[in-house]
């Protein structure tokens, strides 16, 4: 498997040795380049995701989706982005100006922050702390603050209701999300994202195979909770357009709204990416212990594996979103506290037992 760290090291050497730059400049240049790469990937993925959502949703609904702009509608999203960029940004009268402007940035910061943790390839994890996965959940919580502030600062009763709903929901679902991640951490024995993926290389080593029953359950719970965390699907009651028009971003126009839109889709990607990383092995190719097959699989670059798995999970979440009706706020909390929370605790215990007695599924 191609190791991206070779490229990274070569570039580092290029700057340090060949160009003879000092530590400060090397790190500065590298940081800027990586930052640019993240933002570029972020924007591109958002466009791909929005286009995918529109097409997938259309196909579920017996429509064909956008077909006019570009071949098969491919340029539709670009046109939308352009429209959003040139739109006037207006401020609601009596809105809390500072918070009103701040809120979209908080949301986008949380989204970009979590986005940077995704392992794209072997050696291509951008942020790779030893408490990586833990930090992801921490950063993703900033998004809640953004939504809450947006609702409050908009000076709109619908937005306030929506903000309360959003906050309650996201704080609750973070628990199951965290617990599912912890059960994965128990199995892999590390919180570092590269470590988690590393632990899933090898035949039948994806966590969902390795941890069999508890891992499958954890994957499902993770998807449900992640969906709620991304404010989507049956859990989109924060923006519930039939009740609260557009919820917390009712009063935003132009790029303010654009940021929420971006963040929503990228949160979907991040949640799917995390699910793919933690349970489906990230960039790790599928290996079944037969050498020929494994070699072929290993030739496929890790980034393709990662994107493939992530988009698979994205499709699952879209499928769910475009099938089910929305829940009510008390039912969402019921689902979390009466069903998902106990289940994730049971998963945690099960997983611990499995690991302690070495009942995990491994071919070595």
């Amino acid at each position: 498997m191609f190791d991206f760290s070779i490229v990274a090291k070569w570039f580092d050497n290029l700057l340090r040795v060949t160009c003879g730059l000092g530590d400060f400049w090397v790190i500065l240049i590298e940081c800027v380049l990586v930052g640019l790469a993240i933002l570029l990937a972020y924007a591109l993925l958002a466009i791909v995701l929005i286009f995918m959502e529109r097409k997938v949703c259309a196909y579920f609904q017996c429509r064909i989706g956008p077909v006019r702009v570009g071949w098969w509608g491919t340029l539709q999203v670009l046109a939308d982005v352009l429209k959003m960029l040139v739109k006037e940004i207006f401020v609601v009268d009596k809105a809390d100006k500072l918070l009103y402007y701040l809120a979209p940035f908080l949301v986008i910061v949380a989204s970009v922050g979590t986005f940077s943790f995704l392992p794209w390839n072997k050696g291509a994890e951008i942020l790779d702390f030893n408490v990586g996965i833990f930090l992801v959940t921490a950063i993703s919580s900033i998004g809640v603050v953004g939504i809450f502030i947006a609702g409050w600062a908009s000076n709109n009763k619908y937005s306030v209701l929506s903000a309360m709903r959003g906050a309650v929901q996201m704080i609750s679902y973070e628990l199951s999300l965290g617990l599912c991640i912890i059960s994965a951490v128990i199995l892999t024995g590390t919180m570092q994202i590269s470590g988690i993926v590393e632990a899933q290389t090898g035949p039948w080593q994806w966590l969902i195979f390795q941890g069999h029953i508890p891992a499958v359950l954890a994957f499902i719970v993770f998807c449900v909770a992640g969906n709620a965390e991304a404010n989507r699907g049956p859990f989109d009651l924060a923006e519930a357009e039939s009740e609260l028009t557009a919820g917390y971003h009712t009063e935003y126009s132009g790029m303010g709204f654009g940021f929420y839109y971006l963040a929503e889709y990228l949160n979907l990607f991040v949640v799917s990416g995390l699910a793919a990383t933690v349970f489906l092995g990230g960039w790790a190719p599928i290996n079944i212990g037969i050498e020929g097959f494994d070699t072929v699989m290993n030739y496929i670059p890790g980034i393709l594996w990662f994107l493939g798995k992530t988009f698979f999970v994205v499709f699952l979440l879209m499928w769910i979103r475009w099938t089910f009706p929305r829940l009510r706020v008390d039912q969402i909390l019921n689902l979390e506290w009466k069903f998902l929370m106990p289940l994730s605790l049971i998963i945690l215990v099960l997983m611990t037992i499995c690991v302690a007695f070495n009942w995990t599924f491994t071919i070595v």
């Binding site: 609904q61 209701l161 049956p234 357009e241 039939s242 009740e243 089910f324 009706p325 929305r326 706020v329």
Partner: protein, 421 residues
């Protein structure tokens, strides 16, 4: 006491015959309509004096949210002034009249055929039934005996229109609950119903098919085969709505026990149609005051017991099947005969009062006609289907969540132009 349809600053009572209709005196005001937060109650003292007392609609501590006039789930321009306690509804004051067109007043100045043009624009999802009631009352007044063919076709068309309404209803229920996919399935199949009707009537929303003394045109040559094919196509599709939405556990959780109204209250509030039948009130006009050929067909009146939104939904679903049954019984047996009985160029109804009601898609729709022998009505009164439903919303929703307001509104099945007239 406040004005139901007109602005608060409107003076005079337009339906009174001494109302000055001079356009100069009835210019539309561009001033703000100052809304008063109080309501006046009138009562007689023991000594016979008329006294009034003013009640405040809400206190300073109440969180008042205006659902509408522009709101995605009020299905039109209805404004529900909702008083909330957190997410819980404390009180609802419906404000109507945002698309009040004064149809009843217009009818007094139009000739009888001209009034026909207006009924389709009330509840456009029951356009056929509305027109049926209006031509029904005029024909009753004039004493026209219709041919069997006319009555058969009218019955089939009414039922097609009912299916159209119920498909849109089930679709909109899904949409208000956020299941956009189920919504589009309903809309897709409604398209087929509309296609069938359009081939014959030439209209999709505004049908303009019935006229005094018969029908606008004969059914088109393919009508019978198209309808048969439609019935065959629709039956499995209704199950699909149930699969994707109606039987879904989330839908059940959202609908069950929401907006409940028991039979006695339904009668008190005049909640007719599927909404009332869901609580067990047998109120189907087709059964109890049969018109057209409803007395000759065999169909079941759907009544359920709970009176909540779920039963209202199921009531609609089962009525689709019943309508299909009715159509299938009639479609092969349309008798030959006249589709239109020639009337005099100027239609006059003899002096008298008549009332004719039909079973609209979401309740009883009645037309009261007071004729003084002229070529236009002295008074034409419509009993809208949705007004009583909206009136009952406050009673249904007290103590429930704001999200339930949306679901109850969806499950009640009202259409605003019908309420506002």
């Amino acid at each position: 006491m406040r004005r139901l349809f007109l602005r608060n600053d409107f003076s005079g009572y337009p339906l009174r015959k001494d109302f000055n209709m001079d356009p100069e005196r009835n210019m539309y005001s561009t001033e703000d309509d100052i809304e008063i937060d109080t309501t006046t109650e009138w009562y007689l003292t023991d000594s016979g004096d008329l006294k009034s007392v003013s009640h405040s609609l809400f206190t300073d501590d109440d969180f008042v949210v205006n659902i509408g006039p522009q709101h995605p789930s009020t299905h039109g321009v209805l404004r529900l002034q909702t008083i909330l306690d957190g997410e819980t509804v404390k009180h609802i004051y419906p404000h109507l009249g945002y698309i009040h067109r004064g149809i009843e007043k217009l009818c007094e100045n139009f000739t009888y055929p001209q009034t026909l043009a207006l009924t389709d624009r009330m509840n456009y999802l029951s356009a056929m039934m509305h027109r049926h009631a209006l031509v029904g009352v005029i024909e009753e007044g004039m004493g026209i005996e219709l041919s069997d063919r006319i009555m058969y076709i009218r019955t089939i068309m009414d039922e097609l229109q009912r299916i159209d309404n119920h498909l849109l209803y089930t679709a909109c229920c899904a949409q208000d609950l956020g299941a956009l996919t189920a919504f589009l399935y309903g809309m897709r199949d409604r398209e087929h119903v509309l296609n069938v009707m359009e081939e014959t009537t030439g209209g999709r929303l505004i049908q303009n098919y019935y006229r005094i003394g018969g029908l606008q045109a004969d059914i088109d040559p393919n009508f019978v085969s198209n309808v048969k094919q439609l019935c065959k196509y629709l039956r499995p599709m209704v199950q699909e709505y149930l699969d994707v939405f109606g039987d879904n556990v989330i839908t059940h959780k959202r609908f069950e026990g929401i907006g409940t109204m028991n039979e006695a209250d339904c009668i008190n509030y005049g909640v007719t149609g599927p909404a009332g039948r869901a609580s067990g009130w047998k109120n189907d006009v087709r059964k109890y005051h049969p018109y057209a050929v409803y007395d000759k067909v065999d169909f079941e009146e759907i009544t359920l017991t709970h009176g909540d939104s779920m039963d209202r939904y199921y009531c609609h679903i089962q009525e689709i099947y019943q309508s299909l049954n009715i159509i299938e019984q009639l479609i092969d047996n349309i008798p030959t005969g006249e589709f239109y009985l020639k009337q005099k160029p100027i239609i006059k109804v003899p002096e008298g009062q008549w009332y004719f009601s039909v079973e609209g898609a979401s309740g009883e729709f009645g037309v009261y006609l007071d004729s003084r022998g002229d070529k236009s009505a002295y008074r034409m009164k419509f009993r809208p289907m949705g007004l009583t439903l909206v009136g009952a919303m406050d009673k249904m929703l007290r103590g429930q969540k704001i999200a339930d307001l949306v679901t109850t509104g969806a499950a009640l099945d009202f259409v605003i132009p019908d309420i506002d007239r």
